[in-house]
Each structure stands twice: as structure tokens, then as C-alpha cells.
């Protein structure tokens, strides 16, 4: 009797087959000590006694997690390997290398087992692999730049995607009808469906390639923002065409309903994200006593927002991005420093792993039996994708440039058009299509397009961009005067726009800030962390940044300075002219560089590598902050917000004294184009000094420049 109970128990414990391939060995028992009895009972004719197993291998027990870990390990080791060799990542983008590894592994598996290797399931992709990447992108999104360019981004995302989808779908249909490739019976809707999934620019692929080409922030945010937001359009169109395929007939009303659905999907994702973002912010308000789990809430709420919006057939990407953007400022204020660091590191780690896995699986999944090839179809798809994207970008930019102050240059347009890479989203979507005779052809074509864009476009974009730069430089060479004066004008215009409160950007921003400070922050941020005085806060922020800048300076002083021909004559050598041009174009371009942190998949912002100096400077903050608050009580000529500037310059001059010694040595930093970009803060000369009464030591001195640096993209 007892033995049969044990049998049942063991049967229950027996792990079911893994999510990937099937396994050969028979299920072995979990409890080894039962072996002897069981064998004796079940196979009674076995006369050879089996010794008590001291050592045995039970793979099946751990198969599922074991294989997953092995894949992740493979991905991470591959990544490690690429970065070990310095030169390869410069030429071949990481995504290509990973796909190649995937192809290799897939080939090996195919060779060994003679069956197709495991395919990246759409479910695994959409539910597990994609969210971390998008969350990471959303959390580190440069908010101000994004919202400043939001109109343009939406313009490209919505209209551009629509243009591409309709263009590709219709032209493919037309070509197939005329071409005689044996594809006449495929309906228009199928082609439109195909168009909708192949036209979408993929954020994962774009990000991974743009890492290497160092475009300026504005361009980066345009392409990246577009790839994020076009998800809404893609999802809607895909689902629309899919449901049209299932319906017997399509009427105009249905198309209109589709259009409404687009709005619903986009806004729905937005609202879900907002809701969860605010709830997350509120939750972190109460995590003071349990700081260790505070980061968990960030991840849980974001993931929840994604899942919820997917459940409601809204755009999950929009939801998760909105959630991240919404909760970021409150969470950062509420949780401890260490928790903040944890959040950011984990985000980077997960998104890195996810991205690597996606590309490897793309490679592995390419090796299959199910390919159906058709030269004309594949090549025409490729050609049309490029063509329609180029046309779309040109047309849209021509319109949008009239409304922007910083025009999108031709070089930028080329990068936008050429940098429209397709990736795993297309791949997963194509697998989800309901079966129809030519589905395999679509799958093959999609894979080819993805591989082409990632490999060919990914690898050639950098040389082409450099070629364009060179060509452009040869044709039109602005004089140094023009460059200098033009940049002055840019600064001037930027300042005047701030004065006027250019309502398109600042009006809503000011309104939101007002609302934020008055209601949201009170509600969502812990009491003791409420900003008591914006002056002290700003001062602390400046201090912190200056500390970082200083540490950076110190590092740079140690690095070898690049020698320049020092000439005292009026005429300049050509090399010097070139270097001057380079300085001007690199540094003066960042005139709108108000608060830009560079987004990089692989590294964190400078912040997190200078802990020691920050601690020191935090300690100094606190001591100075106390001095601030005490002097403020009898500083009746100041009121909080209005004299922020005066107090600021006062605080700046106060901070001069302990650090005046560090100000002077300026090392040559010209040659390092990847040097930090600094923004100078100049205290006002005359007005502020009249307000400095009864202040200690350094007030009467002419305010010196206080600059703080933050790491920026390697500019070129």
C-alpha cells in the first residue's frame, strides 16, 4: 500500500516536458532512495540488484530552468566576448554579431538533431523579452528633449507609418498582380497585413545600431521616439487587417471604426500607463521602512501596466513608456540613493539580457525547414521598404521643417530613413498570422528583410554618414565668423524663447510644472523629502554636478594632453583651422543642451561612478544647507521663488571660496572629442552684488563662472 502511495507521489513530482524541444531519456525519479524498492517492485523479473545510487544525474528534473539559463549564459558570454575585442564592435554592430552567433548555434542544433531548433515564440517575446527593453528606454528617456520634439515625433510615427504601410501593401499587391510570380491569389488584405508588420521600425534594432554612430541628441530622440510611438499605429493596423481578414466583407464603416480604434489604442495605453505610474509613485511614498523592496515596485507596476494594456488590446509599449516617464521623478525623490541605483542597474541589466536574447533567437529561428523562397517577391519587398521609407521621410520633413526652428537637415533625414531598422517585432508578428497558403513566404521574406536591415544597413550606416559629413564639408565651408555668430544667435534665440514663454513648448510645460508642484508633488512625495526651498535644491544640484565635473577634470588632467602647434602669428595653419572647426561644430552644436543625459544601452549615466565624491559633497550640502536656512530667516529682502537668481548667485559665490584653488588649472582637452559638455552658469555681476548684504567672505568678489559637467554623447 505504502509503495503505491509513493508511486503516486512520484508521478506528481515528475516534471512535465520543457517549453522547448523534447527530451529522450525516460523520466527518472526524484527521490533516489526509492530506486531500489521501486525497481524491485515494478520489474520483478530483474534479478540483478541495482546498487544504491550515490551519484546520479537527473537532467529532466531541472531541464526547463537549466536550458533557459544556458541560453542566457550563452548570450551574456557572447556579449562579453565582443566587447573584449576592441575593434570588432566598431565595425560590426553588436546586433549583427549576436545574430551570427544565433545562426551558428541554430546551425549546430540543426546539425545535431536534424530537426528545427526552437523558435522564438511570439508569446515569449511579447510578454517576457520586450517589456524590459522598453521599460529601460522609457525610464532613461530624456524627457525635456522628447517633449520639445513631440510634435515632430508624432508626425513621423503616425503619418510616416501609415504612409509606409499603405505604400508597401498597395505596391506589393500591384506588383504581384502584374508580375506573374504565382502570387495573384493572395488578397489585398494579406498584403496590407504584411505591409503593416514590415513597415514598423523597431526600437530594439534602432537603439542597438545608434549606439555606435553617435548622432546628436535631437536626431536620436526623433528616431527613437518614432520607433516607440509607432507601436500604437502598428498594433492597430495589424489587428485591424487581421480582423478584416476574418470578416466576410469590409465596409467603409469598418475602416472608420479602425481609425477610431487607433485613437483608442494610443490613448488607452497612455492612460493605463499614467494610472500605474501614479500609483507606483504613491506606493514608493511609503517605502521608508522597507527600502530594500522599493525597486521591486517600480518593476512590478511597470510590468503590470504593460500586461494590463495588452489584456485590453491597447498599446503595451506606450503604456510602459508612459508609466516609466510618469513615475520617475517621484520615485527618485522618494526612495533612497541605493534603491535608485538598484533600479537603474537592474533596468540596464535586464534590458541588455533581453536584447541579446532577442537577437540570438532571431539568428536561431532563421534555421528552419519551413522556408519558401521567391526571388522577385523578396527583392521587391526589400526595395519597396527602402523606397517608401525614403519618400516618406523626405515628404514629411519638408512639411515639418517649416514649423521647426532647428530644421532637420538632409544628413539627419538620411539617417532617419536609412536607420529605420526592422527587428524582432516584425518577426513575432509574422508568426502570429493565421495560416494561409503563402504564409511561409511571408515568414521568409520577413526574416530576409530583418537580416538585411540589421546587417547591411546597420553596418553601412556609419561609413555612409561619415561620407556624407565629408561631402557636406567639402561643398559648403562656413567661415569661422559665421559659425561663431550663428551660435551666438542660437543662444540668443533660445534665451528669448524662454523669456517669451514660447507657448508651444513652455506654456504647457509651465502649466504642468505649476500643477505638479502644487498638487502632485505634495501628494506623491514623502513629507521629509518635500523640497523645502527651491534655492537649496538648485544649489545642491549644482554642487553635485560640479563635483562630478571636478572628478572628471581630475581624471582628464592625468590623461596625456594632445599637443597642438602653438602659433602666435595671426595666420593659422590648416590643421589648426580644422581643429578649430571641429571644436566649434562639436561644442557649439549643443546650444540647446539644457538638461540632456545621454541614453546608452550599455552604460549608466556618469552619476553612478562617482559615489565617493558625491557623498563628500552631500555632507557639505547639508552643512551649507543649514547655514542657508538659518540665514534665510533674517534675510528679509529675499522671497523664495522670486529672488532665486540672486540667492543662487549668492550661493555660487559662497561656494567659490573653498574651491577657488581648483578653478585654475585647465588642462588641454580639445583633442578629446568625447569630452564632457559643460554648461556655464554665470552669476550676475551687478544686480546680485547689491543684494549680498552681511554675507560672509567672498560675496563682494566678482562672481566667477561655475561650470558643471555632465557626460554627453561622443559628439561629432
Amino acid at each position: 500500500m505504502t509503495v503505491t502511495y509513493i508511486h503516486l507521489l512520484l508521478l506528481l513530482l515528475d516534471p512535465s516536458s520543457a517549453l522547448m524541444s523534447t527530451q529522450d531519456p525516460p523520466p527518472s525519479l526524484g527521490n533516489h532512495s526509492m530506486d531500489k524498492n521501486d525497481v524491485d517492485e515494478a520489474e520483478g523479473h530483474f534479478t540483478v540488484p541495482i546498487a544504491f545510487r550515490v551519484f546520479s544525474v537527473d537532467y529532466h528534473h531541472v531541464q526547463a530552468p537549466f536550458e533557459i539559463v544556458l541560453w542566457i549564459m550563452l548570450a551574456s558570454l557572447a556579449k562579453l566576448g565582443f566587447h573584449w575585442s576592441g575593434r570588432i564592435p566598431a565595425v560590426v554592430p553588436e546586433s549583427c554579431l549576436l545574430i551570427m552567433v544565433g545562426l551558428l548555434v541554430g546551425g549546430v542544433i540543426y546539425g545535431v538533431r536534424h530537426t528545427a531548433p526552437p523558435v522564438l515564440s511570439a508569446e515569449a517575446f511579447f510578454l517576457y523579452l520586450l517589456p524590459p527593453i522598453v521599460l529601460d528606454a522609457g525610464y532613461f528617456l530624456p524627457g525635456r528633449l522628447f517633449f520639445e520634439n513631440l510634435g515632430t515625433i508624432l508626425w513621423y510615427a503616425v503619418l510616416g507609418t501609415l504612409w509606409n504601410v499603405l505604400g508597401i501593401g498597395l505596391s506589393l499587391y500591384g506588383l504581384c498582380q502584374l508580375g506573374g510570380w504565382g502570387l495573384e491569389e493572395v488578397s489585398l488584405l494579406h498584403f496590407l497585413l504584411f505591409g503593416s508588420l514590415i513597415a514598423a521600425v523597431d526600437p530594439v534594432a534602432v537603439l542597438s545600431v545608434f549606439e555606435e554612430i553617435h548622432v546628436n541628441e535631437q536626431l536620436h530622440i526623433l528616431v527613437f521616439g518614432e520607433s516607440l510611438l509607432n507601436d500604437a499605429v502598428t498594433v492597430v493596423l495589424y489587428k485591424l487587417f487581421e480582423s478584416f481578414l476574418r470578416m466576410p466583407s469590409v465596409s467603409g464603416v469598418d475602416v472608420l471604426a479602425g481609425g477610431c480604434q487607433f485613437v483608442v489604442v494610443g490613448l488607452g495605453g497612455l492612460c493605463v500607463g499614467l494610472f500605474f505610474g501614479l500609483v507606483a509613485a504613491l506606493t514608493t511614498r511609503f517605502t521608508a521602512r522597507a527600502q530594500v523592496i522599493a525597486p521591486l515596485f517600480v518593476f512590478l507596476y511597470s510590468y503590470l501596466s504593460y500586461l494590463t494594456s495588452e489584456m485590453l488590446h491597447f498599446s503595451g509599449i506606450m503604456a510602459i513608456v508612459t508609466c516609466a516617464v510618469t513615475m520617475k521623478q517621484y520615485v527618485e525623490a522618494n526612495v533612497s540613493e541605493k534603491s535608485n541605483t538598484t533600479i537603474k542597474y537592474f533596468l540596464k541589466m535586464w534590458s541588455s539580457v533581453s536584447e541579446t536574447l532577442i537577437f540570438i533567437f532571431l539568428g536561431v529561428s532563421t534555421i528552419q525547414d519551413v522556408h519558401m523562397w521567391s526571388w522577385p517577391f523578396v527583392s521587391s519587398t526589400l526595395f519597396l521598404c527602402l523606397l517608401w521609407r525614403a519618400l516618406g521621410v523626405l515628404l514629411l520633413t519638408a512639411v515639418v521643417n517649416k514649423l521647426r526652428r532647428n530644421a532637420v537637415t538632409f544628413r539627419d533625414q538620411f539617417i532617419i530613413a536609412y536607420g529605420g531598422l526592422r527587428g524582432a517585432i516584425c518577426f513575432s508578428l509574422v508568426f502570429l498570422i493565421e495560416d494561409f497558403p503563402k504564409k511561409r513566404l511571408f515568414i521568409t521574406t520577413t526574416i530576409v528583410v530583418i537580416l538585411f536591415t540589421v546587417f547591411v544597413q546597420g553596418m553601412t550606416i556609419k561609413p555612409l554618414v561619415e561620407l556624407l559629413d565629408v561631402k557636406r564639408k567639402k561643398r559648403v565651408l562656413p567661415t569661422v565668423s559665421e559659425e561663431v555668430h550663428c551660435r551666438l544667435l542660437d543662444h540668443l534665440l533660445s534665451g528669448i524663447e524662454d523669456v517669451v514663454g514660447y507657448w508651444g513648448q513652455h506654456y504647457w510645460k509651465d502649466k504642468f510644472e505649476h500643477f505638479n508642484t502644487k498638487y502632485l508633488k505634495r501628494f506623491l512625495i514623502r513629507e521629509d523629502k518635500q523640497p523645502k526651498s527651491s534655492i537649496v535644491r538648485l544649489y545642491q544640484e549644482l554642487e553635485r554636478r560640479e563635483q562630478m565635473g571636478e572628478t572628471d577634470e581630475g581624471k582628464r588632467e592625468r590623461s596625456p594632453a594632445i599637443e597642438e602647434n602653438q602659433t602666435h602669428s595671426r595666420s593659422l595653419l590648416p590643421e589648426e583651422m580644422d581643429s578649430i572647426r571641429r571644436i566649434l561644430s562639436t561644442n557649439l552644436r549643443n546650444f540647446n543642451n539644457k538638461h540632456i543625459t545621454a541614453y546608452s544601452r550599455h552604460t549608466l549615466h556618469q552619476d553612478f561612478t562617482v559615489d565617493a565624491s558625491r557623498k563628500a559633497c552631500l555632507r557639505r550640502h547639508q552643512s551649507l544647507g543649514e547655514r542657508h536656512s538659518s540665514t534665510q530667516t533674517h534675510g528679509s529682502q529675499w522671497d523664495d521663488a522670486g529672488s532665486q537668481g540672486a540667492c543662487l548667485s549668492r550661493s555660487l559665490t559662497v561656494s567659490q571660496s573653498p574651491r577657488s584653488a581648483h578653478r585654475d588649472p585647465h588642462s588641454t582637452r580639445e583633442g578629446s572629442l568625447n569630452g564632457p559638455v559643460r554648461v556655464t552658469f554665470e552669476g550676475l555681476a551687478s544686480p546680485s552684488s547689491t543684494y549680498l548684504q552681511g554675507q560672509d567672505s567672498s560675496s563682494a568678489r566678482m562672481p566667477k563662472k561655475l561650470s558643471f559637467a555632465f557626460e554627453n554623447e561622443k559628439g561629432k
Partner: protein
């Protein structure tokens, strides 16, 4: 638009201002609202502190020069008409205006725009941008990326390119000439102020 006309009535000399600067009533009202937002203490005029309180402006490398351009002749108060007159420089150029040789240029003409920009360099108002003044501006814009020698080279080169009468300074005419290829209308206009 009822609010526009009622606010318009509150602005003294609105008609003259519009005539002088070329702003439409809607723009004038918008600028008036902005003026009131900036004037937090409701003094009726603006001081340099009100400008510095604009956070983004404070981060601008040439912030003090821009503010100085508003408070010409060293005054500490800026009333609404002066505010509007300065901002009128940044209206896009009216292409359709008939050119009358006798009437003065409108505030937003190309030449007046350039004069405004010139004034940013020329702090001592002697009509010339000296090497020293140029260096100051360059230093503000380029901050720490370059050494003193490189700054001086750039300043030298700038003067060398523009300076036709070899007096080691850039006069307004030379300044204007060096920018003749640049589309000043595009670079110095805020489009919504059309």
C-alpha cells in the same frame, strides 16, 4: 476672443504699441499675460531678478548679456512697452511691406536685428567689437572645452575674416558683411510672433 479685447483695454497705449511694433492684438495680449506672469510681485515693471528667475534662461551661457539687452542704459526697471519693443526685434520680417525710403526701418528689419545681436557683443557701446569683447563671448559659449590659446586663435581668426579696415575690431558694417550669407530672418525670428 472676448478676453482678448478686454485684456487689450487694460494695456495702456495699445494702439500705438501695435503700430510701432507690428504685433497683432492677440500677440500683444499674450505678451501682456507673459509680462504679468514674469512680474511675480506685481510691481508693474520687471527687474533683472525676474529674468533670472526663469530657470532655463539662467542656464543660458549668455544669459547676462541677454538680460542686459533688455535693460538698456543700465536701468533696473522694464515696463511693458519697452518689453514689447525689444521683443519686436524677433518678429519675422514682413516680406510684403512696401519699401519707403523715407520712413524708418521697422523694428524687425534685418538691419535692426543685426544691430540687436551686435549689441550683445559690444558691451561698452563704442560701436566696435574689440578682441577682448569677442574673447569674452567665446569664453562664455565654449566654456571649458578649449584652452586660452585656442580661444585666442578663434578670436583672431574671426576678427581677421571680418576686419576690413584693419583696426583689430569689428565695426557694425563689418559684422553685417560677415553675416551676409546667413538667413538672419530664419535665425533670429520666433515664428509664432508673426
Amino acid at each position: 476672443m472676448g478676453s482678448t479685447s478686454s485684456t487689450l483695454a487694460k494695456i495702456p497705449n495699445a494702439e500705438d504699441l501695435m503700430q510701432e511694433t507690428g504685433f497683432t492684438p492677440a500677440h500683444l495680449v499674450r505678451l501682456y499675460d507673459r509680462f504679468k506672469v514674469l512680474d511675480k510681485d506685481k510691481k508693474g515693471f520687471l527687474t533683472p531678478q525676474d529674468f533670472v528667475a526663469i530657470k532655463e534662461l539662467a542656464m543660458n551661457p549668455i544669459c547676462d548679456r541677454i538680460i542686459g539687452a533688455f535693460f538698456t542704459s543700465g536701468g533696473e526697471t522694464l515696463d511693458f512697452p519697452s518689453f514689447v519693443r525689444i521683443l519686436a526685434h524677433f518678429r519675422p520680417i514682413d516680406k510684403n511691406r512696401p519699401k519707403e525710403p523715407t520712413s524708418p526701418d521697422p523694428i524687425n528689419s534685418r538691419s535692426n536685428k543685426l544691430k540687436f545681436a551686435f549689441q550683445l557683443y559690444d558691451q561698452d557701446k563704442d560701436g566696435k567689437i574689440s578682441r577682448h569683447e569677442l574673447l569674452q563671448v567665446l569664453r562664455a559659449m565654449l566654456e571649458k572645452q578649449v584652452t586660452e590659446e585656442q580661444l585666442e586663435s578663434i578670436a583672431d581668426r574671426t576678427i581677421q575674416e571680418a576686419d576690413l579696415d584693419r583696426d583689430d575690431a569689428i565695426s557694425f558694417e563689418e559684422f553685417r558683411k560677415s553675416l551676409e550669407k546667413v538667413n538672419i530672418d530664419h535665425k533670429m525670428s520666433i515664428r509664432f510672433l508673426r
